[in-house]
């Protein structure tokens, strides 16, 4: 049985890989749909192998549920997953993300007026961004209670430093020549900021905003491990692990994956609209 299973898995793997090899080395490889098709085939191959191995080797669902069971769970538990999504992503992650981003942006613009402060904030902020800030979650839960406010606070602090550092760095990104040009136009601080330096900083700011999307979700979910109302993705994951309902855990992870990709994708889309002039956006 084991032999058949491994043989079947290998056969599927070879088939998928063969198709991808042919596609990638064919003349069609530059087409848009092929560039989407190749990773899709790769992902599908992995899913089929997963399903097959779990079924043929009779892996206990407590260890690894097959993808089909996860899909069934995902469809059946729709309302509950939606409630968890609302609690964790909308209330916790999104509000914290907005608060953190606005605070970081405001501080960056203020600090930018002084070269001295900028030189202090860049290394300190860069260092803080590398720290395991998510460890502050128990402290915030204690301060602000177990509802979404404490999650928003953790998320706010987590996203603050990457956005701060990127905005400060971005505001310094103009060249002396460009600033001189603004001066010859007789532009003061505000027109220079609004018309030259903020637009020039946008690629940097969006870099920070994109990094922060994943951090926001991580912060909101992990903070729920320390205390939450009886709803939320982190709460559901930790209780489902306790009940050995691993298909529910995987369903939550699917939700997290979709939310994370959509959040990142939305930021990348806005970035494309705002910084259309930047070389990295040219098609």
């Amino acid at each position: 049985m084991t032999g058949t299973a491994i043989f079947a898995a290998l056969a599927i793997w070879m088939t998928g890989w063969f198709i991808n090899l042919r596609l990638a080395n064919s003349a069609l490889a530059q087409r848009r749909w092929v560039q989407l098709l190749v990773p899709a085939i790769f992902g599908l191959t992995l899913l089929v192998i997963w399903e097959l191995l779990v079924r043929l080797l009779e892996v206990n669902a407590v260890i690894l549920p097959p993808p089909s069971a996860i899909a069934v769970r995902f469809v059946h538990e729709g309302p509950r997953l939606w409630a968890d999504f609302e609690q964790t992503i909308i209330k916790g992650a999104l509000s914290g993300y907005i608060i953190g981003a606005i605070a970081a942006f405001g501080l960056a613009v203020l600090a930018d007026r002084s070269d001295f402060l900028t030189r202090g904030i860049l290394p300190v902020g860069g260092f803080m961004a590398a720290l395991p800030i998510v460890g502050t979650a128990p402290i915030f839960v204690k301060w602000l209670g177990s509802d979404w406010q404490s999650k928003a606070a953790v998320v706010g602090v987590m996203v603050f430093f990457p956005i701060l550092v990127n905005t400060v760095a971005g505001l310094r990104a103009t060249t002396a020549m460009q600033r001189d040009l603004m001066r010859t136009y007789g532009a003061g601080y505000w027109p220079t900021l609004l018309k030259l330096r903020l637009p020039a900083a946008m690629p940097f700011i969006f870099n920070g905003l994109k990094i922060a999307t994943t951090l926001a979700l991580i912060g909101a979910i992990v903070a729920e491990f320390f205390g939450s109302p009886t709803v939320g993705m982190g709460f559901r994951i930790s209780t489902s692990v306790g009940q050995l309902a691993l298909d529910m855990v995987w369903a939550e992870i699917v939700v997290a994956a979709i939310a994370g990709s959509a959040f990142y994708g939305a930021m990348a889309w806005i970035e494309g609209r705002v910084t259309f002039w930047h070389p990295s956006q040219r098609k």
Partner: protein
């Protein structure tokens, strides 16, 4: 370039100290209103006069309002045993007690807990880096792999993977794997991506001219890899390693949080939280921060030494 960056660093010392000083100031000032309610309750039990004189009435005031009404209690807010916000000196004292004053083998020593987390971090980092470099070599040399794996590697990072931590640990526990490895896998997952992206960029960094030169030397593909692509990728590798090691540490700590680990920084944070000992949580948090700084600093040093030996210090 090195000299100049050294000079730059000297010029930044004063601003950096100013910013750190400002953060400490805010912290010290915030201690008073944060702990005031607690202090007032305690002081009343000890027979001090407190206005207003019932805990119920005090709830109507903010921490700041209460502090203004009871200026005599301000000093006491800094010496609470279980403060909501400990003052910096309390955290420092707790760290001194648990790092220096304990034997490193003791369960109460932060060095012991630090080593537990650090060993998982390093193992995971080694796994993640190996996997990342292997994938990067594959991606650079195989078009099919580039097209199929790269989008998934990028997508994998938009997934809040730390949510997987409790499940991975249960899953591996069910097939009899405990201890270091489950934590390391989460560390490895978080650190492999920066390495993949950095190495792909690095291995592709030799330009057409350099590749052409090797072709005129009639160099084989293997020689091209060992003598051109790999050396050219080293600066990129180090940039990735510095990101990867701090991601690894975060992974190891978070892996300890939801799983009831008994040792490690994450476990200390959890213990402090559950048994109402905020100082333990704060000390673990700062010890983790110092560890992260030490690891990143170590790799910066290695980077500088390696690049200087390779004659690439200026790039």
């Amino acid at each position: 370039m090195l000299g100049r960056s050294g000079g730059l660093r000297l010029k930044s010392i004063l601003p950096v100290l100013t910013v750190i000083g400002a953060i400490l100031m805010i912290w010290v000032v915030a201690v008073v209103p944060m702990n005031m309610h607690l202090t007032a309750d305690q002081a009343q039990r000890d027979g001090f006069a407190v206005t207003p004189d019932t805990p119920m009435a005090r709830q109507d005031y903010s921490g700041l309002g209460l502090s203004l009404r009871n200026p005599s209690l301000v000093g006491l807010t800094y010496v609470q045993e279980r403060p909501r916000l400990p003052s910096p000196h309390q955290v420092a004292v707790e760290m001194w007690k648990t790092i220096v004053m304990q034997r490193v083998t003791s369960k109460r020593s932060l060095v012991y807990h630090g080593w537990v987390t650090l060993s998982a971090t390093l193992l995971g980092f080694a796994m993640g880096t190996t996997l990342g470099i292997t994938l990067a070599v594959g991606i650079v040399y195989s078009r099919a792999m580039d097209m199929s794996v790269m989008p998934w590697a990028i997508a994998s990072q938009t997934i809040p993977i730390l949510a997987l931590a409790p499940m991975i640990i249960v899953m591996l526990g069910a097939i009899g794997i405990h201890g270091l490895l489950p934590k390391s896998i989460i560390s490895a997952y978080l650190s492999f991506f920066p390495v993949v992206v950095g190495m792909v960029k690095g291995l592709r960094s030799p330009d057409g001219m350099q590749l052409d030169l090797l072709r005129t030397y009639y160099a084989s593909a293997a020689q091209g890899f060992w003598k051109l692509r790999l050396p050219a990728s080293v600066p990129y590798l180090f940039a990735s390693l510095k990101i990867g090691i701090s991601a690894s540490l975060v992974g190891a700590i978070v892996a300890e949080l939801p799983t009831g680990a008994r040792a490690g920084f994450g476990a200390r944070m959890l213990v402090g939280d559950q048994y109402g000992q905020p100082l333990v949580t704060w000390a673990a948090l700062f010890a983790a921060a110092i560890t992260a700084a030490g690891l990143v600093g170590l790799f910066s040093l290695l980077e500088r030494l390696t690049l200087r030996r390779m004659g690439m210090a200026g790039t």
